[in-house]
């Protein structure tokens, strides 16, 4: 053994302990980083879920209702218009007074009426309009409780707090307790959350309007962006001459993919709304903006899908005399389609979750009605989440979280589909 080699062994041996300690430290840092990442994922999901799952139930109060003909239809015409505008709230109020006959003071009465949602009359109206024969009869109806009562029942309001700091007065507490003892308070599945439009009253608010808005916007976005993106991708990948112009387009697309989304909102506001006069707040203008936003994503994915089709396929088709376009449409496109669809789904998922640019083009408006078409004012699910998150009522917190859960469910489904699609059709040449 040479002298140098011997000293090498000694020197290496001397430093080994320290080096392995540093190796372990580094490795632990890596584990820590991944652990932190996963921790954030779980905290986020746990937080949203624990806040939101209660929103799928809504507190209802059972009220004995007498469909008093003198209130609903004093003239006895049974005319639908009259019935539609009758004072159904009076019936509920009467029912509540019957339960608590000792409440006579005006202020106390008003507080009593606030046990139920201001929109509780809608349920009765619907029943009468469906079946006017009910007038003059009596029945027990479950009506929505007010949001404060809902929060109380769900345990979000601390009963031990001093009354002055509490959203619910001692008197109301006692009434609710009495109702509970008589089994007249119940948490039932919150169908309204999925069938109602937005409302200022948390217990009335639902995501149907936002869902329909998202649906129209997304469908239009798909309709616009898919052909545009696929056309662009085929042209750039297969037909475009390699020159400065196509280089410019390419650099442009890559840059557009990284432009902040809010800039697209400004563009939509200035160009689509103010210049072309596309109506504000509509799925149409939303879709136009989202199309421009998602185009780069889909184009880039489509191009790489086209790239992955081996040239031999093209040569084979051209060799039997197919025209370049026939080669594309008959042979290359079907093979590249799964990749393109994957990119499209990912782009659509992005569009579904996008909020900022839609605020710019007026989709932030408070809209109660469920949109019926692409030119009706609408909002979309993420914007609805934003609006609710801004509302001060405690009951909106759980609804916001619930809406987020719905949104995430859609997004996860879409992304899973994309992953499965990629797995299913992944081809190695």
């Amino acid at each position: 053994m040479t002298e140098a080699a011997k000293s090498t062994i000694d020197l290496v041996n001397a430093s080994l302990k320290k080096r392995y300690a540093s190796e372990r430290r580094f490795r632990r840092l890596g584990v820590l980083a991944i652990g932190l990442g996963l921790l954030f994922v779980s905290i986020l999901f746990f937080d949203i879920f624990s806040k939101g799952y209660t929103a799928f139930q809504q507190t209802h109060i059972r009220v004995q209702v007498y469909y008093d003909a003198s209130i609903l239809d004093p003239e006895g015409t049974r005319n639908e218009d009259d019935l539609a505008f009758a004072d159904y709230m009076a019936l509920i109020k009467q029912g509540l007074r019957d339960v608590f006959p000792e409440v006579t003071d005006r202020r106390a009465k008003r507080e009593l009426y606030q046990l139920v949602s201001p929109g509780a009359d809608q349920e009765l109206r619907k029943r009468i309009l469906e079946n006017p024969g009910l007038i003059g009869t009596e029945e027990q109806v479950w009506v929505r409780a007010n949001d404060d009562i809902d929060m109380l029942i769900k345990g979000h309001i601390d009963r031990d707090m001093p009354e002055s700091n509490r959203r619910v007065s001692d008197r109301t507490l006692e009434w609710v307790d009495r109702l509970e003892q008589r089994n007249e308070v119940e948490k039932r599945f919150n169908t309204g959350f999925f069938t109602n439009g937005d409302s200022r009253q948390p217990e009335q608010a639902g995501i149907a309007g936002a869902l329909m808005g998202s649906f129209y916007t997304l469908m239009l976005t798909l309709l616009f962006s898919f052909p545009l993106a696929v056309g662009t991708a085929i042209f750039l990948e297969e037909f475009a001459p390699k020159n400065r112009w196509t280089d410019l387009i390419e650099v442009n697309i890559n840059n557009l993919a990284a432009v902040p989304s809010i800039i697209f909102g400004l563009l939509g506001l200035a160009v689509f709304i103010n210049f072309f006069g596309v109506p504000r707040s509509t799925p149409l203008v939303g879709a136009l903006v989202l199309t421009l936003m998602t185009l780069p994503t889909i184009i880039i994915a489509s191009r790489s899908a086209l790239k992955s089709v081996p040239p031999s396929i093209r040569e084979a088709a051209l060799g039997v005399g197919a025209s370049p376009l026939q080669t594309q449409f008959h042979h290359v496109l079907p093979l590249a389609m799964p990749g393109m669809l994957t990119g499209t789904i990912i782009g659509m998922a992005q569009a579904l979750g996008e909020t900022a640019p839609l605020l710019m083009i007026g989709m932030i408006a408070f809209i109660v009605d469920v949109p019926q078409g692409i030119t009706d004012p609408a909002t979309v699910l993420p914007v609805q989440i934003f609006l609710w998150a801004d509302s001060p009522e405690r009951a909106f917190v759980e609804r916001t979280s619930a809406a987020i859960m719905v949104l995430l469910a859609f997004l996860i489904t879409m992304n899973l589909t994309a992953v499965l699609l990629r797995k299913r059709f992944e081809r190695r040449w």
């Binding site: 840059n255 557009l256 900022a356």
Partner: protein, 462 residues
């Protein structure tokens, strides 16, 4: 405007054109020895006819959609009595809105006057007239093209070439949309910004440290119509983004390194998608989390430690934004690290380097340009991120480097300025465009540098 019916008419004509063209080509080939004598397959004659029928009709519909309303509006305004016509353009717009609403039978905001009633009837009449004209034009053009194409269809007609040419030209036009978008952004945002800079000097926007777009209460306050110094906004943006990068870069980079260099394939296949969930969560969800969970948590923590923390602290927004960017940094770094050739790792290992030594001294320096590019892209994303800061950062423009205080950002101000009830050409609205322009320029520069660095890096190892 019954545009949907009109579109159905056009589509019907197109379908008819297709069938007609196909049958016609078969018919003309019959006495010439069958369809093999045709230059192209019959379906191409069908497409050819359909294009001839559809494109002109579509052009007319487009024109109608774009110009009908403005022409009618102009005509209606011309027919208005003088005292209404001489109103300020903004008020005139409101009047027109009323007329339109009345015409469509909606509830009208202003009071009902006889003039308005007349005008709305005028409007309805004009619109019905315009609709009729459009319908007739579409029908005429379609029929004319049909007759024209009928005379052209012959076995010699190179229908496939014509159709393919059209398709390729269409795709070429599609591919310019990206350019048009960029131009649209530049021109629209630039134009509005120029209007802004006519009212507020550029020097104030760039160098003043006071941002208060509210109209001043007293005339002698700084800048009677608010002041528009963007420095505090950019400082706030930078502070929040810097906090985000402090979270995202170490965590994202270290997890990418661990996944690429240490993790077993099974661990990687399991963990990577889980981390990427973070990238798929909409920003509004992060915003909600930041505002309702992170901010109170930090404030309570600060209180317990005896520190004064604003309820909309930059720290809360920055931390959550950092979490959002983690998967962005980690997947970009992962790509870059995997592009470092295996031979370098082997060369280092063969000299007796431990894994971490190889990573720190060989892999990381080799991947550095790519990682820097990725970090720049992440930075540009942090700067342009909107929802988290809108929901969790403040509105007041504080010039501070203290992460526990509340700051505002460029994107927050854009949203605030544009979501209020402002007229479109008020200084406040225009200010939003000026901010948008600076945001665009900053992120564009970052992106270009980043994409270049990454591209150069890739070329090195390809």
């Amino acid at each position: 405007m019954q545009s949907s019916l009109l579109i159905i008419l056009v589509l019907g004509m197109v379908a008819f054109g297709y069938l007609f063209g196909r049958r016609r080509s078969i018919a003309v080939s019959r006495n010439r020895g069958g369809i093999t004598r045709l230059h192209s397959l019959p379906i191409y004659y069908g497409f050819y006819t359909a294009l001839w029928v559809g494109l002109p009709a579509l052009a007319i519909v487009m024109m109608a959609v774009f110009f009908e309303d403005s022409i009618i509006t102009r005509l209606v305004i011309a027919g208005l009595p003088d005292q209404l016509r001489e109103l300020h353009p903004d008020q005139l717009g409101l009047v027109m809105n009323d007329i339109r609403n009345m015409a469509t039978g909606n509830i009208v905001a202003g009071e009902l006057t006889a003039e308005l009633q007349l005008a709305s009837e005028h409007y309805v009449r004009l619109q019905a007239y315009a609709d009729r004209v459009t319908w007739i034009l579409v029908a005429c053009i379609s029929v004319l093209s049909l007759v024209f194409v009928r005379s052209r269809i012959s076995p010699e007609l190179r229908a496939r070439n014509a159709v393919e040419k059209t398709v390729i030209v269409t795709m070429m036009v599609f591919s310019t949309i990206a350019i048009l978008t960029t131009l649209g952004v530049i021109f629209s945002v630039f134009y509005e910004s120029m209007l802004f800079f006519q009212q507020v000097p550029l020097s104030e926007f760039l160098f003043s440290t006071k941002w208060s777009p509210q109209i001043a209460l007293r005339a002698d306050q700084v800048g009677a119509s608010g002041s528009f110094g963007s420095i505090p906004l950019f400082a706030g943006t930078l502070l929040v983004s810097a906090i985000a990068m402090l979270v995202a870069v170490p965590i994202g980079l270290m997890s990418a390194i661990y996944l690429a260099e240490y993790a077993s394939p099974r661990f990687r296949a399991f963990t990577k998608p889980l981390l990427e969930i973070l990238a798929g969560i909409p920003t509004v969800v992060y915003g909600f989390f930041a505002a309702l969970t992170m901010a109170p948590f930090i404030r309570n923590l600060g209180e317990r430690l005896g520190m004064d923390v604003a309820s909309e602290s930059a720290l809360a927004a920055g931390l959550v934004m950092g979490v959002m960017i983690i998967p962005f940094v980690s997947s970009l770094s992962d790509d870059v690290i995997n592009a470092v050739p295996q031979s370098l790792r082997e060369g280092s290992a063969a000299l007796g380097a431990t894994r971490s030594e190889t990573i720190k001294r060989v892999v990381f320096p080799a991947a550095l340009p790519g990682i820097v590019g990725g970090v720049l892209l992440a930075m540009s994303r942090a700067i342009g991120e909107t929802m988290i800061v809108v929901m969790a950062a403040g509105l007041s423009a504080n010039l501070t480097a203290n992460p526990l205080e509340s700051v505002t950002t460029v994107t927050v101000q854009i949203v605030t300025l544009l979501t209020g009830d402002q007229e479109f050409d008020s200084v406040k609205t225009l200010a939003a465009f000026a901010l948008g322009l600076s945001l665009f320029v900053v992120t564009l520069i970052l992106n270009i540098i980043a994409l270049r660095t990454v591209r150069k890096y890739r070329e090195q190892y390809d």
